[in-house]
Structures are given as structure tokens and as C-alpha cells.
């Protein structure tokens, strides 16, 4: 990869340690993705915010970076570990809170917008199609490329951070028009009835395609299903984009049998002690739908609902949060199912959820059992 003279100087430390580290990261990912050069990006969405995901060494690394690092483009950040406004009623260890506060301070010092969301595509106005951005958070990268037609690679927490510090990213892979074509096509052989089916399809597709996957058999994609599909794809592999419609590539069938196989891998419990909704976080449309579904009903068990704070605030103005809270649902902002300390295996053995991404992390990181059901069934069975 060719660096300009200024980029070369920055790499050698002329603009400080943080920028030099950022260029070291950009150089490594540029080389690995065969980039010829760096290009400007308009927006970086950074992951590595939840203390559970970066640990003590991550906190130290970020504090070092923040000594002389400043974000030079719009930078939004992923969820943290808990809802800071409800911390008094939540069971979180003091040490976790202290470390999470250090992370909060670091991102604030560097100039991040404290969005604490994994659905930036629902919270912020989208730049025009074709704009180059740098999105870590796998579901957001897939969604941005596929539904809102921005251009990002499936960034890592560090590559998006490097873009935030420099305003640049390698011109490679999904930032290059010719590369945004499917390498595999999945032919859908059975009806996709709900968001869970789309999540299963996504998880299946992420294991099959390395780059871009085409779906033959989807005609209309509703937002909720698009989120579930993107999150499934982002969880299981390295694929960073999907397209709709038949393509000429190698074609793989996805029917009932394939869906069941994925479900068998992630569905590890027959029922759950609690319900969790979100991963990705719920947006305003999801909260509206949920409010209508649970109106006048009561959850029979604890139900944690993870949503973006911006969506929560809109939903409050529209009366949805009151309806959901009246049904017993606990709305939590700024955090999400994945790796939250709020779902602890000392307290719960298993969780009911409609999220494939949530299921993967609950099984593998939180080490609790997972019972997968679509939202409609969850409300029917877990509410009276």
C-alpha cells in the first residue's frame, strides 16, 4: 500500500503516538486486504466499549491512545455493559462499573458521540449512498453495506478506531465497487416466516460466504428482518454484505433442514428463566411493535429489553415505553444482550430470546442456555 508523504510522516510519529499507532493499524489492514491507498471516511462507528469485551488490557490501551489521540471524523460508539441511569437497581460489580467509567471517559476525551448503540443506522441520519465509512460492530457493517448502501469493510474494533483517529481507511474489499458482488448465492427453499428465520438464514450464510452473499428468494425485506439477517451474518463468519436477487455464483440451498441444523447448534435449552430482547438493540419501530403486542398483557417472568437510548426517548414521547413497562418489561438503554454482565449464569440457567446473535454470545460467553423463539411466540407464551 502506498502512503502519501504526510501519511508516512504520521506513521513515523510526527503527529503523536496515537496517530502513529493508528497508521500502524491502517498499514497492516491495508496490506492484508491488498489496498493500494488510504481514502477518507466520513464516519467511524467504534466497537470495544463494553468492559467485558476489551478487559483490563483494552482499557489501558485506550487510555494510552487518549493521551494525545483525538477523533477527527464523526465517531459513534457501541453499547457499554449496563444502563448507567438504572445502575442503582442493577446487579453489577463495583469493579466493572469503575472500569466501564474509565472507558466512558476515554471515548469522551477523544471526542466520541456517546451513542452507546449497535444500530447506528437507525439512530443517525444516513449519509448519501456510496459514502465511505468505517463501521466496526458486525451487524452494523453488514446492514450499512447491504441496506443503506454505504461502503465499509467489516472493520475490527481497532481498525474503526484507527479510522476515527485519522479519518482514513484502506481502499480495499467492500470499499471498491467491483468487489461488492456476491461470491456465493443462497437459494431460499422454504418460507421465511419471522425474524428468527432470517437470523438463522444469516448465521448459515455467514459460514458460507467470505465476502458478499446473494439471496435468491427474498423479495421484500422488512427492517426487523434485515436487522436479524445482518446480525446473523456478522456473527458466524467474515462476510460483510448481502444482496437480494438471483446471481450467477455457486448456489447453495437453504430450506427447513438447513434452518433446523443452525437452530440445533444455538438452541440449547427447552425454556428460559428470563426473556431477553435485543441484539441488535431495539429501535423505535421494534418498540412500537412490541408495545402493540404486549398492550394489556403481563410478562410471567423477567423480561430485559435492550434498546438504543434515542429510540427509548422517542418511544417515551409516543407512550410505548409506558405500555411495555406496564407489562413488566424492563427497558435498558446503552447496553445490549451480548456480553452484558446483566445476564449472569450465577442467577439464570437459561434465556428465551429471538436473537441469533444474542444466542451465540449467551451460549459461548455468558455460558447460559438459550431457547430460541420468534417474538410473536415469546409474547404468546410468556405473557398472560
Amino acid at each position: 500500500m502506498q502512503l502519501t508523504r504526510e501519511e508516512e510522516r504520521a506513521l513515523n510519529g510526527k503527529e503523536g503516538e496515537a496517530v502513529a499507532t493508528a497508521y500502524r493499524i491502517l498499514l497492516a489492514i491495508g496490506e492484508s486486504t491488498d489496498a493500494e491507498k488510504l481514502v477518507p471516511v466520513k464516519w467511524a462507528h467504534v466497537s470495544g466499549v463494553n468492559y467485558n469485551t476489551i478487559g483490563d488490557s483494552g482499557v489501558q490501551f485506550l487510555e494510552n491512545i487518549s493521551k494525545d489521540g483525538k477523533f477527527v471524523v464523526k465517531t459513534t460508539i457501541n453499547p457499554m455493559g449496563f444502563d448507567p441511569l438504572k445502575i442503582n437497581s442493577l446487579k453489577v460489580k463495583a469493579e466493572f462499573i469503575a472500569q466501564q467509567n474509565r472507558i466512558h471517559n476515554v471515548y469522551e476525551r477523544m471526542g466520541a458521540t456517546k451513542s452507546y448503540t449497535c444500530i447506528p443506522y437507525e439512530v443517525f441520519d444516513m449519509p448519501s449512498e456510496g459514502t465511505s465509512v468505517s463501521f466496526a460492530e458486525s451487524n452494523a457493517a453488514v446492514y450499512a453495506n447491504s441496506v443503506t448502501h454505504l461502503r465499509t469493510n467489516k472493520e475490527s474494533a481497532l481498525s474503526a478506531l484507527a479510522s476515527a483517529l485519522t479519518g482514513k481507511a484502506p481502499y480495499s474489499e467492500l470499499r471498491v465497487e467491483e468487489m461488492r458482488k456476491p461470491d456465493k448465492c443462497i437459494r431460499i427453499k422454504s418460507e421465511l416466516d419471522n425474524e428468527l428465520d432470517y437470523g438463522l438464514l444469516g448465521y448459515f450464510a455467514g459460514k458460507i460466504s467470505n465476502n458478499v452473499v446473494g439471496f435468491d428468494g427474498i423479495n421484500i425485506l422488512e427492517k426487523m428482518n434485515g436487522k436479524a439477517l445482518s446480525a446473523g451474518i456478522g456473527t458466524s463468519g467474515s462476510c460483510g454484505m448481502f444482496t437480494i436477487g438471483k446471481t450467477d455464483n455457486e448456489t447453495i440451498d437453504f430450506g427447513r433442514e438447513e434452518a433446523m441444523k443452525v437452530k440445533d447448534e444455538l438452541n440449547t435449552s427447552e425454556n428460559g428463566d428470563i426473556v431477553t430482547l435485543g441484539s441488535p438493540q431495539l429501535g423505535i419501530d421494534d418498540l412500537s411493535l412490541l408495545a402493540h403486542m404486549v398492550d394489556g398483557k403481563k410478562f410471567r417472568k423477567r423480561c430485559l429489553i435492550f434498546c438504543a437510548r434515542a429510540a427509548y426517548e422517542s418511544a417515551t414521547r409516543l407512550g410505548y415505553t409506558q405500555t411495555i413497562e406496564h407489562s413488566g418489561g424492563e427497558l435498558l438503554c446503552d447496553c445490549c444482550t451480548c456480553l452484558t454482565p446483566l445476564v449472569d449464569r450465577n442467577d439464570v440457567d437459561s434465556v428465551v430470546t429471538n436473537s441469533i446473535k444474542g444466542a451465540y454470545y449467551l451460549n459461548n460467553s455468558n455460558k447460559v442456555g438459550v431457547c430460541l423463539k420468534p417474538l410473536k411466540e415469546i409474547v404468546e407464551q410468556e405473557c398472560i
Binding site: 488490557s57 490501551f61 475490527s156 481497532l158 481498525s159 463468519g237 454470545y361
Partner: protein
């Protein structure tokens, strides 16, 4: 059977590759054809692969030369690579079939030599043999 050519540093095989993070590292090869999610599959304190479905479950990547296709899943895996290094249980070097952004960025800040794009099938290297990576060359002893 494989005669040493250059004194006791002679390798049995020299494999050309493309180094993404420079530096050299040597150690015992730990080889898998299965992809790795650094965030969820590895115990970051010990370096042991804990994922029950992974063929390397129970094996430690600490101080090894990790040979694998590429990383998958979470974008935060880059921090996990860094945590392994800080906990002194990182591999000495890594070799991918095709290095990905998560692995490359994690290795870049952890100073773990990383290479990919060799012209031979790296998965024919057997776990346990001594290997050395440096200057776009993988030496198999």
C-alpha cells in the same frame, strides 16, 4: 532424513509468504483448518482454546506459531489478540490462509508477526513441528 544444510539452523522447508506485521517469531506449530473467533473461543488468561466444537479445544496457543485460515465473528476480537499478548499467552507468530482485518489489527498493536499468502498449502504443516517466521519466509524444521 532431512539433512541440515546450513549448520544447525537449516530448515526442512522454506515457504515464501507475505508478511503483514513484520518481525520474527519461532515456536511449535499449532495448525487448524477451522476459523477462530478470538473473543469467544479462547480463554484470554491461559491462551487455551475453550470452544467445545473447535478441533483445538483444550490446546493452548501460548508461545506457539498459530496456523489457521482467518478470524471470524466479533469486531472486538482484535482486542482479544492484544489481551493475549498482555497476559503473556499470545502466539509467537501467526500465519493465516488469508489474513483478515481483525487478526491484522490485533497483531499490529500487539507486535505479533503475522503472515499469509504462502504458495503452498500451510495446513499440511503438522502441529508440533518447529517453525520460524521472518522476512516473508516461513521455515519448517
Amino acid at each position: 532424513m532431512f539433512k541440515t544444510i546450513e549448520g544447525n539452523s537449516g530448515a526442512r522447508m522454506y515457504i515464501k509468504c507475505r508478511q503483514i506485521v513484520v518481525g520474527s517469531g519461532e515456536g511449535e506449530a499449532l495448525v487448524t483448518t477451522q476459523m477462530i473467533n478470538f473473543l469467544t473461543m479462547i480463554d484470554l488468561k491461559s491462551g487455551v482454546i475453550k470452544d467445545e466444537k473447535h478441533e483445538l479445544r483444550g490446546r493452548s496457543i501460548a508461545n506457539k506459531m498459530l496456523i489457521f485460515p482467518n478470524a471470524i465473528g466479533s469486531s472486538v476480537g482484535a482486542y482479544s489478540v492484544y489481551a493475549l499478548k498482555m497476559n503473556r499467552v499470545a502466539p509467537k507468530a501467526m500465519m493465516c490462509n488469508k489474513a483478515d482485518i481483525t487478526t491484522a489489527s490485533g497483531c499490529a498493536i500487539a507486535n505479533i508477526p503475522l503472515a499469509d499468502q504462502s504458495n503452498v498449502d500451510i495446513f499440511t504443516i503438522k502441529s508440533g513441528v518447529k517453525v520460524k517466521l521472518g522476512e516473508n519466509l516461513l521455515q519448517v524444521f
